[in-house]
Amino acid sequence: MTDDLNDLKQALNAATPDADPATKAAHLALAQKNFDDLQGSRDGARPISSRPNRGFWTGARKMLNSLTSRAALTATTAVVAVGFVMLTPMGNGLLHPPKPMRTEPGVVSAPEPVELARDESPKSDGLASGLTQERTREPASDLADARSQGKVENEADAVSGLAAPAEQAFSTMAEQIIEPPMALPYEGDSEAYANEAANPLQITAESPVSTFSIDVDTASYSVIRNSLMNGQMPNPDAVRIEEMINYFPYDYPAPVGAAFQPTVSVSTTPWNPDTRLVHIGIQGAMPDMENRPPLNLVFLIDTSGSMNQPNKLPLLKQSFRLLLGQLRPLDQVSIVTYAGSAGQVLAPTNASERGTILNALEQLQSGGSTAGQAGLQQAYAAAAAMTEEGEVTRVILATDGDFNVGISDPEALKAYIADKRDSGTYLSVLGFGRGNLDDATMQALAQNGNGQAAYIDTLAEAQKVLVDQLTGALFPIADDVKIQVEFNPAQIAEYRLIGYETRALRREDFNNDAVDAGDIGAGHTVTALYEVTPVGSPAQLSTPLRYQPAETADTGDELGFLALRYKAPGASTSRLIEVPIMADMAPLPDAGFATAIAGFGQLLRGSDYVTNWSYQDAIALANRTKGDDPYGYRAEAIQLMRLAASLSEN
């Protein structure tokens, strides 16, 4: 009988991990800070350490002073009491330790000496003597002013005699994170991915129309990169091919006078010689950035305990510092935290006051009471206060997966964000750290907030998202962009949309302006690929129906018809762009690399449609089509393909 219990006990002892030193230091610092805050109100009343050396008269005068300001009613009693204190040996002892007395009839109405007596009672004297020698009693307000993160941590260390200074603990942690044990899988953690089964092959005669919303998110690519860099094949569910393709900027024809320009091309499919690829490239206009409207940014930052890792809060701080360098003097920044020390940390501040902003950012720490959770409302309130006519306002939520932002009902949260979106404040989500990353919620929030979801795992990624592509991420040029393609059954027997599984729309939603869809920011490029099987191609997988001859409308050589709807930012009615898809459309200049990435993504997902084509082929194609690659993104992708090739052989 007891065996089970003993086994359990042993197992428990073995399984209980040691407290993480950095987390421990932060928690202790937090406890210390709250303790100090709590003492603030009585610090002034407490005796200073020189107290016992003070002369007899000082003490008596002080008491008299404090007594005279009390209610007159007690004065008579007090005077008698003072007399008692001054004249009796016992009272004398009260002002001259070492014989302190806890309760004295004379000091009942004088709070300060009471405090004195209590603090110098033998209890605290005896036990704290070795510890309190170096203690300085700064007034609480000074302490609070001077308190920077480092200081609090160091203070906590110094006072408690904790092992290593927090900074040192941090750098040790950082080393561990940079080279994590290869065998440590993430699968056991609570990561959740938003994905659907890969888009199936569609038979044109049965369902000729394909409708989806565009997507400019890139989070999936970063998650894949992080997995591969850690020596693991990514979870197939983490692979969203459209996000991999759209991670890269492409050199598509720039729009002239319009918000964006769709371009279509048709080329051969590298992984199947008998099918064709229809490549839809959309290039967003680059507005005149010299005269861009002022930008209002509210950072809504998760400060829950789990953010206390080098690749989370510290990386976040560095990232935002990079972003700050991109802002103009008229732009405004505000910082709100949640899940830890809740509340507005930085009131709306002009970007020109760089020092103030940096200082507020620097002082962020994971910790604080968990009480204030109304972070989201507060962030939007700050955003509303900052917005003026013609300005662009955005809330940027940064988290490692704790979405306890103040509204616990997800439906209400979604509605809230959508409502704010309609009133002009958009929401972007930045994910940090692995292990608890809630990809699904991230996607849902960003989609509802008309924003971008990006996953920041390195400073280089922060550079890309927050600096190189800042304008696209923050300045919307077209809202609710939907794509609908109708294929011509006379030309195309089967088709398949590559990626965009989570972005599928119903056919009737295309013309319904009330249905939300993705947005394009300034200078964004969006790519969508269809693999199509021409009629009569040996690659056709389905057998034509015997009793239903294919309808042939007289449309000549058109493979299909592309329709695209979008709204100008803030507008409620959509505009329509239509382009026929012809078989002889010239390949887009950058189509090759997008194709290589699409193939790579399908390999990672284990697609049934990409056979006889390997990572080596993807590498060869990507190398051939790499082009200029000014930021080195593409070279990195090729490196990832190599990693995947090696890992998949194990």
């Binding site: 009988m1 089970d4 219990l5 359990l8 006990k9 197992a11 428990l12 399984a15 209980t16 991990p17 407290a19 993480d20 987390t23 421990k24 928690h27 202790l28 937090l30 406890a31 210390q32 709250n34 303790f35 805050d37 709590l38 003492q39 009585r42 603090d119 209890k123 605290s124 005896g126 036990l127 704290a128 070795g130 510890l131 309190t132 203690r135 006072v159 408690s160 005699g161 904790l162 056991g188 953690d189 609570s190 959740a192 829950s304 305990g305 789990s306 910790g367 009471s369 968990t370 306890n404 616990s408 009902d409 997800p410 439906e411 292990g435 809630d438 699904a440 919620t441 996607q443 849902a444």
Partner: protein, 178 residues
């Protein structure tokens, strides 16, 4: 120097910074270990410990030394764990009205939780009250002390432990059959 935790706590309750600091560094590991046993995951344990650390200074002001400090601390920890569970349950209920993604996410979360070893399954399958009791008793508490922390009688603790044993035996039998 070797003041007892209870003395330190009394001094800290009176506003002694150094005493509080010493006390926290002494009891942090114990606290974290208990948090881990109450929650069963490192991530949860860290968040729970943070909750407690944040709230402890205020709570400590009410500490009058009636109980051993450790006993008192454990009671605070168990209550904080209850609070967290209650919040999680509210969140879970609210989530039923949410789209597929939230439900899928939670399903995936609970699946992941089930993948761990016998230990976590054994603890995880116990009802909350048995689990709390077991976490304390396996931390070398007597039944009487555990009863004091949980606010139940010693007899109830003993009964809960025997119930927990039954659960474990059934689980063990099931596994042996596989």
């Amino acid at each position: 120097m070797d003041a007892s935790d209870t003395d330190l706590a009394m001094a800290a309750a009176g506003g002694d910074v150094a005493a509080f600091s010493t006390l926290m560094s002494r009891c942090y590991d114990t606290l974290y270990r208990l948090a881990f046993r109450l929650t069963g995951s490192q991530h949860e344990a860290e968040d729970l410990t943070q909750d407690i650390c944040a709230a402890l200074p205020a709570k400590l002001q009410a500490y009058r030394g009636e109980a051993q400090f450790t006993t008192w601390l454990y009671r605070v920890a168990v209550n904080a764990a209850h609070d967290r569970r209650r919040r999680a349950a509210t969140h879970m209920r609210a989530a039923t009205g949410w789209g597929d993604w939230e439900q899928n996410r939670q399903a995936a979360n609970s699946e992941a939780a089930e993948q761990v070893n016998w230990l976590n399954r054994a603890m995880g399958h116990l009802p909350d009250d048995l689990r709390d009791t077991l976490a304390l008793v396996l931390d070398d508490m007597t039944h009487r002390e555990a009863g004091g922390i949980l606010g139940v009688s010693e007899g109830t603790v003993s009964w809960r432990i025997s119930e927990a044993r039954k659960h474990l035996r059934i689980l063990r039998e099931k596994e042996d059959q596989i």
